[in-house]
């Protein structure tokens, strides 16, 4: 949306942050949360603040609204709105500025609504505390709910937060922010928790509201794709320091800072070598069905998570299963791993039927099929040393303890960790390091198939790239096949030979990676591609 605006807007800035430095408690990992941050936002302008977790980007949003906790003191710098310097942090006067001049929305919209009060009640309250007469409140609430394109505003007003979907909740929260027509909207990762298609809708909504209401937006995100989509200007944050600031087109086309280049590269991977001749399948599934049932009294609920899915993975091949949340992609992984009992269908591993194996034969099979899970924080037993965790698989399958430990030591170095890591516990490692440990644990069994279930989704983008490289390296060394489950099209593009697109438990399309991206056959695939933020900017056509 970075349409033809004349270079730096000549207007007086709406918001001006100058030399802002915020301290951290003495036990933090650096002395300051953010250091010497300066930027202006003109009326109607969208500034994107980009950075990974821990970069201090959220601190800035809180500081503008006077909501920093006392543990994070403002050490120097000023924040001015329309040229007037803002009150000190946590000052009572902020209550009058919030919602009327500046509104803010957060990442988890569902959690930022009070679970025991209706949407309408919470919205009306914002009007009430800012002195809007009672008679005007309800019409205004319904008006903004309509404005954010929520269906049946009267019903939404009566609803409780848990009755809304993630996208609806985010719309309701945006409606709450619009109630008093503020000049600036601070949006702190508002689409991160959403599916890609919902994210696209919310981004479009924010862009429309910006145009209709002349709203300025400070958009805080970790995702350069989102930046490409909506920002007029962008500021890149790294470890509390603003490393680069400029108009979006310029930064995207000619990033000056190495870190910016790294972030941009992470969302624009080279598509992988096209699948050569299809190798003989090692894992084959035919007609898989899985239904979850729940509920004792008052009606049985059943959800068919996997519907008639067939797929095959060739030796040494990498296949990505792409889908949004609830598409059944993780259930499919659990079926193939035999962690879930399928209702019907067949699974063949090297031609042998495995879907009925139980007990010892099933456990024996497991050494050939390994898994890396999404959340590296829960995937390791907190009471087990790294060495013991990695050696456990070989020991289970009969390797003598000393040999298993030696092997685990080799794996630790192979995945890029220092040998000293062996005796430590998982708590002492970062997310990226833990994911390396999980990969080492899976590969210590020398499996022939590795199933990675959203294995990089919990990681920062620059760490994601490293872990994806590690997967590719290891695959080259050991020659296993990978089934990579992901919601993220750029990740799939970076790693897969072939892509399967899943929706509502079914595979709607499959094909070579490049073909899927260039010429999606199924409308849903096309829809997903269109929704993925920033992706179209890097399509070969637009580059040409």
């Amino acid at each position: 949306m970075s349409d033809a605006q004349p270079e730096p807007a000549p207007q007086a800035p709406l918001l001006s942050v100058h030399g802002l430095t915020v301290g951290l408690p003495s036990d933090g990992d650096r002395p300051q949360a953010v250091t010497d941050i300066s930027f202006d936002i003109a009326p109607g302008e969208t500034l994107c603040m980009v950075g990974e977790s821990g970069s201090g980007k959220s601190v800035i949003g809180q500081a503008i609204l006077g909501m920093l906790p006392s543990a994070l003191p403002v050490l120097s710098g000023t924040i001015a709105l329309n040229g007037d310097v803002m009150p000190p942090q946590r000052d009572m006067r902020f209550d009058a500025i919030r919602s009327t001049e500046i509104a803010m929305i957060f990442q988890d919209a569902g959690a930022s609504l009070n679970p025991v009060r209706t949407i309408g009640g919470q919205l009306a309250e914002v009007l009430a505390v800012h002195g809007v007469p009672k008679a005007e409140r309800r019409p205004r609430v319904l008006e903004v709910l309509r404005d954010v394109a929520l269906p049946d505003p009267a019903r939404i007003a009566r609803s409780y937060p848990h009755q809304l979907s993630g996208g609806q909740a985010q719309r309701a929260v945006i409606a709450a922010a619009l109630l008093l027509e503020p000049k600036l909207l601070i949006a702190d990762e508002p689409t991160t928790a959403l599916d890609v298609t919902t994210q696209a809708e919310i981004l479009a909504l924010i862009a429309r509201l910006k145009a209709e209401h002349g709203l300025a937006v400070l958009f805080i995100t970790h995702d350069f794709g989102v930046v490409a989509e909506i920002a007029d200007r962008v500021a890149v944050m790294k470890e509390g320091v603003q490393v680069e600031t400029g108009p979006t087109d310029e930064v995207l086309a000619r990033p000056r800072h190495a870190y910016t280049r790294k972030l941009i590269a992470a969302i624009t991977p080279e598509a992988r070598r096209p699948g050569t001749t299809a190798p003989a399948p090692i894992l084959e599934a035919r007609g898989l069905n899985l239904t979850y049932r729940s509920g004792l009294f008052g009606g049985k609920k059943s959800v068919q998570a996997v519907k008639d899915v067939s797929l095959e993975i060739g030796k040494g091949q990498t296949i990505a299963v792409v889908g949004e949340s609830g598409s059944g992609k993780s259930s499919l992984a659990r079926c193939l791993l035999r962690l879930e009992e399928i209702d019907s269908g067949t699974i063949r591993f090297r031609g042998d039927e495995i879907s009925t194996l139980q007990g010892q034969p099933l456990r024996k099979l497991r050494q050939s099929m390994q898994v890396v899970l999404q959340d590296p924080f829960s995937a390791l037993n907190p009471r087990q040393t790294i060495l013991s965790a990695i050696a456990e698989g070989p020991i289970i399958h009969g390797m003598p303890r000393a040999e298993a430990h030696r092997k685990a030591g080799e794996m630790i170095e192979l995945v890029g960790l220092s040998p000293q890591a062996a005796g430590r516990y998982p708590q002492e490692f970062s997310g990226g390091q833990r994911q390396r440990i999980c990969i080492a644990r899976a590969l210590a069994l020398e499996p022939e198939v590795l199933i990675a279930d959203e294995a990089v989704s919990a990681l920062d983008v620059s760490i994601q790239a490293q872990i994806l490289d590690l997967f590719a390296d290891m695959q080259q060394r050991f020659g296993f096949a990978i089934l990579f489950i992901t919601h993220d099209l750029s990740v799939a593009r970076a790693i897969a030979d072939e892509i399967l697109v899943m929706r509502d438990g079914e595979i709607v399309e499959r094909g070579a990676t490049a073909r899927i991206f260039d010429a999606p056959a199924h409308p849903y695939t096309a829809h997903l591609l269109a929704a993925a933020p920033g992706l179209e900017m890097f399509q070969p056509e637009s580059a040409a």
Binding site: D27, D29, E52, S53, G54, L337, L339, R363, K364, L365, R366, Q367, M369, Q370, V371, L373, Q374, D375, S378, A379, L380, N381, P382, R383, Q384, E392, G393, I396, H397, R424, Q427, E428, F429, S430, G431, G432, Q433, C438, R441, A442, L445, D460, I463
Partner: protein, 284 residues
């Protein structure tokens, strides 16, 4: 939080003074129970008609005597022994029984779980003191029966907590991963699930121990617990309560010991809980 690359060590905080005092009191109490008889030449059942109701400080009877001229110090030592044994054995019975049933319910699901959950519901609807009174009305009061009844105290809390924790641990990523490695159910439970939920039982143990002390002393105080010729701290209080105004030491001294013991154990328990599980933290 931020992606910290170095090892993260939880800072070792010093033990607060109040907890140190509580620990010292517990140690003192145990020593008193074990070796206290060395402090007095009298046996806890030796009566002396000439030395009835002597106040504390009387020569030969540093803590005074009761209505039958028995040395209160000697009686307190024996009372402390019995109270200690009942508290520890009782708490262990409840902890082991409850934890096993809880983990079993989580592991087996289905009918086993339904039966255990129903038993938890029944126990939760009957305060243990009522159950104990009912049993004591039917069966002859014996020390073994009494110990078993006290042991039932709080089993349902362990069962409920451990079932919840085990169900949660079963869904944890590391259990899925270890299952995928090919581990047997026994290995999964013994090496992965149990070590991670044992903390919860340990913390509950420190909550339950003072409650068990209070249950034992309350029943004995009612005259329905430990029976003469044996004695316990609650039983000493029970015998002395009719002379509250004239011989206060017979009730207040054992009462003070019970209170300090329960207080110390729960203070150490709170501190332990904060150390073991930051997510259950009561402070900060």
């Amino acid at each position: 939080m931020s992606d910290v690359t170095g090892p993260v060590q939880r800072p070792q905080t010093a033990i607060p003074l109040s907890v140190k005092i509580a620990m010292a009191f517990i140690a003192l109490f145990v020593l008193f129970a074990l070796f206290g008889h060395a402090l007095t030449p009298h046996g806890f059942r030796d009566t002396s008609l000439f030395d009835r109701l002597k106040p504390p400080g009387t020569e030969g009877y540093p803590l005074g005597t009761d209505a039958r001229g028995r040395d209160l110090l000697a009686r307190l030592v024996t009372g402390a022994q019995i109270t200690l044994v009942v508290a520890i054995v009782g708490t262990v019975i409840g902890a082991v029984l409850g934890s096993l049933l809880g983990v079993l319910a989580a592991a087996r699901r289905g009918r086993t779980e339904a039966v255990i959950v129903a038993a938890i519901d029944v126990q939760a609807s009957l305060p243990i003191i009522i159950v104990a009174l009912f049993m004591l009305a039917m069966f002859d009061n014996s020390f073994t029966l009494f110990l078993l009844l006290v042991g039932l105290n709080g089993w349902e809390v362990y069962a409920r907590l451990m079932r919840g924790a085990a169900l949660q641990a079963k869904e944890a990523g590391y259990v899925t991963a270890v299952r995928a490695l090919g581990a047997s159910p026994a290995r999964i439970y013994l090496r992965h699930v149990l070590p991670n939920i044992l903390n919860i039982a340990l913390v509950q143990f420190t909550v339950n121990l003072p409650l068990t002390v209070l249950l034992e002393t309350a029943l004995s105080f009612l005259g329905l617990g430990v029976q003469p010729p044996l004695t316990s701290l609650g039983q000493i209080m029970s015998e002395g309560r009719d002379r509250l105004l004239t011989a206060w030491w017979l009730t207040l001294l054992p009462g003070a010991i019970i209170f300090c013991l329960a207080l110390s154990v729960s203070m150490v328990g709170d501190w332990l809980r904060d150390r073991l599980d930051p997510t259950l933290r009561s402070e900060s």
